[in-house]
Symmetry: C2
Subunit: 419 residues, 2 copies
């Protein structure tokens, strides 16, 4: 297969991309400017139908697999070659925005439309995928469609997952007409790219347009329970207290320091706390809180785990309170693939776009895809780093830039057929 | 008036005191061994009726004032002298115990019964008082009856206070037959003593039987609001966070240190905390918490206030989060009276009881009484310092000791008539 020299004259149609985003965002639009389009609802069906209609109008062949993932294929010169794939998801959080997921899908569609404009043929076929239920708001687990594709979850078990009303994934797929017949198993893919808003503040703070995503952080989540003794705030002298909230606040400080000690990519968060009996003049007797540790490698994640465990053991060892810690979630760190990450970086460079290497702190369909396919991601800034919120926003010029990088990276991997 | 030499041969009837406590505890008894007898309920009426019956059987004259306080009077040799008074309350918390309040009332009754046994006459009359609604569980404010007596609250306004069902203090007093006609205003009282379980761990830890209470701590309560910015835990690097819970945990540490810096009597407690949005993988955006500062003098309390304000201002000054602090409660420190405190200490000494000076961290009816009457309190240990709990417990020998101190202190103040 011949490798094309990057033709940076070829630019995507920014307005068409934007207009498509705005059209899709009308389906499930909320009064506050966001989108509520939960997985496998009637609105999800409408969004899927619109994508399929657009893909077919762009000359693609569409197939749907057994977990409802939609693959829109544009033939290459040699259809025996594994396709170069891109995509994301179009389901949203209940108070979601217009760009999370939708951008990755419609950027892929725009790549195909733009190639069509100039009748550019690729060596390998291209595919744009819409993964089922990335958000996990209605059905768990999150990243369901890509997880089944990558073999992280079994199909049969996943189809039986139910929402809070008891409706199953399988029944809802059938109801909206997206229980496809293509087996939900991964097939050879040359490369997978996913364009996404950053959902964080790094690019905006650095005034940089493109995040070259080198991988995704691993995660360890914990439940911590600090047990002291509740007592009246008035009659109990300081030295006779067993104050669970005071102890927890020391742990919160220490857990924060552990992430600072493992800069730059380490993160630690205490997002949830519950104090009992939570009364103004009673010394707290029991405090429960969550810990979320993230790091780019298992070495760092393990070191952070050891530090948190030691922190809890030391506090317990002082004898003032009891401390119990239990790990409840583990996602391994997922590095992306050198050749595909390089393709994103080189495309940004060739296009003269400011860019920096970045690690994804959040999960994405690309994280499961990376288990079975050479994968990279392209991040673009979003306003104030905010997503999963109706005020989620992104600039048209940034979305355009990310789509241009996607176009170049896909062409570089697929090869352009000689004309 | 002649002052009696202490006759430590005279000892109260420990079993009678204990049996009375157990009988009263049957009214509103809970399955877990506690008592639920909320102010001005049918059960409160039953408890009051039992006390009145016992007081009349002991030869007392009973009168009820307009806020429902019950005064049981045993005449002295000279009834023109102001009485020596003792008492407490018999209303309980919803999950209250057998001793909080009830002990102070029934210890007073036992003093009278014991004097009756030997036909001992005092120079000044004695009175045992049952104050209305000390706990404040059903109606606010707490320490209602003694507060009205001391002029801290107006009668009319207090009678219109309602419970959560909209029933007023005045209507409920009338309904249970305790809307008395005696004016609710303080009259000359020679001395007021109140025996009470400590509700704290100090006496038990010191293996000491009697707490000679020298006064009550002043209190300042605050609401604090820390405002940062909620953000996804995954994509947001440590250095770009505005973590309200992390900031609050620093304040909690600092507020604790402020009490340690003002030992021995200073106390600080963060008893209540609320974190928003309280989700495992979201950096907390807003944290609200309470602060309860206590100290034995206004000088110390003011210094602690300044330190807390400075702590908040410093954190705000760092620019990472906003901090707002508002004082919501102030009770001045209330020293008790030298002569009456000495009477308690001397009685303990004469009776050969281990004793130590102690400051009450909690509010008591005695705190309001001290505004208008020479006052002291007698503390006895309670198990593990626990009260306001159905497992509240105290030893018969400690209750006996406290009652003997009360007897001696009252006789010392009232004077024993020559026989």
């Amino acid at each position: 297969m011949e490798t094309a020299t990057l033709n940076t004259e070829l630019q995507i149609n920014s307005q068409r991309l934007w207009d498509s985003l705005m059209s899709l965002a009308e389906i499930g639009a909320t009064p506050k400017g966001g989108v509520c389009r939960l997985a496998l609802t009637d609105l999800d069906k409408q969004g899927r139908d619109l994508f399929v209609q657009w893909a077919e109008q762009a000359g693609c062949t569409v197939r749907v697999d057994q977990i409802g993932n939609i693959f829109a294929r544009r033939d290459g010169l040699d259809n025996s070659l594994p396709p170069v794939m891109t995509g994301s998801h179009i389901d949203t959080q209940p108070t979601g925005g217009k760009f999370d997921g939708n951008y990755g899908v419609l950027a892929g569609l725009e790549v195909i439309r733009r190639l069509n404009d100039d009748n550019i043929q690729t060596q390998a076929p291209l595919e744009v995928v819409v993964w089922t239920n990335e958000e996990g708001s209605r059905f768990v687990p999150v990243m369901m469609g890509s997880g089944v594709f990558a073999g992280a979850f079994g199909l049969e078990e996943t189809l039986t997952q139910t929402d809070t009303e008891g409706k199953s994934v399988g029944d809802e797929l059938a109801r909206i007409g997206y229980a496809g017949e293509t087996p939900s198993a991964h097939f050879p893919v040359k490369a997978y790219f996913e364009a996404h808003i950053e959902q964080g503040p790094v690019l905006e703070a650095a005034e940089t347009v493109i995040g070259v995503v080198t991988g995704a952080l691993g995660q360890r989540w914990y439940d911590v329970v600090v047990t002291g003794m509740e007592a009246h705030a008035g009659p109990t002298p300081m030295e006779l207290r067993h104050d669970a909230l005071l102890a927890a606040s020391r742990l919160i400080q220490g857990i924060n320091q552990i992430a600072l000690d493992h800069a730059p990519h380490a993160r630690s968060t205490v997002g949830w706390i519950d104090s009992y009996p939570n009364s103004r003049n009673v010394i707290p007797g029991t405090v429960k809180f969550s810990v979320d540790l993230r790091a780019a490698s298992d070495d760092v994640l393990n070191a952070m785990d050891a530090a948190v465990q030691a922190l809890c053991a030391d506090l317990k060892g002082e004898g003032r309170v009891d401390v119990a810690i239990k790990q409840v979630v583990y996602f391994p760190p997922q590095p992306f693939h050198q050749e595909q990450v390089d393709a994103v970086r080189q495309a940004s460079q060739a296009l003269g776009l400011s860019h920096l290497d970045i690690v994804s702190g959040a999960g994405h369909d690309a994280v499961y895809m990376a288990r079975v396919t050479p994968t990279a991601m392209i991040f673009v800034p979003c306003k104030d780093g905010i997503s999963h919120n109706e005020i989620e926003d992104a600039k048209q010029e940034h979305l355009q830039a990310g789509c241009n990088v996607l176009l170049q990276a896909m062409l570089q991997q697929a090869g352009v057929a000689a004309r």
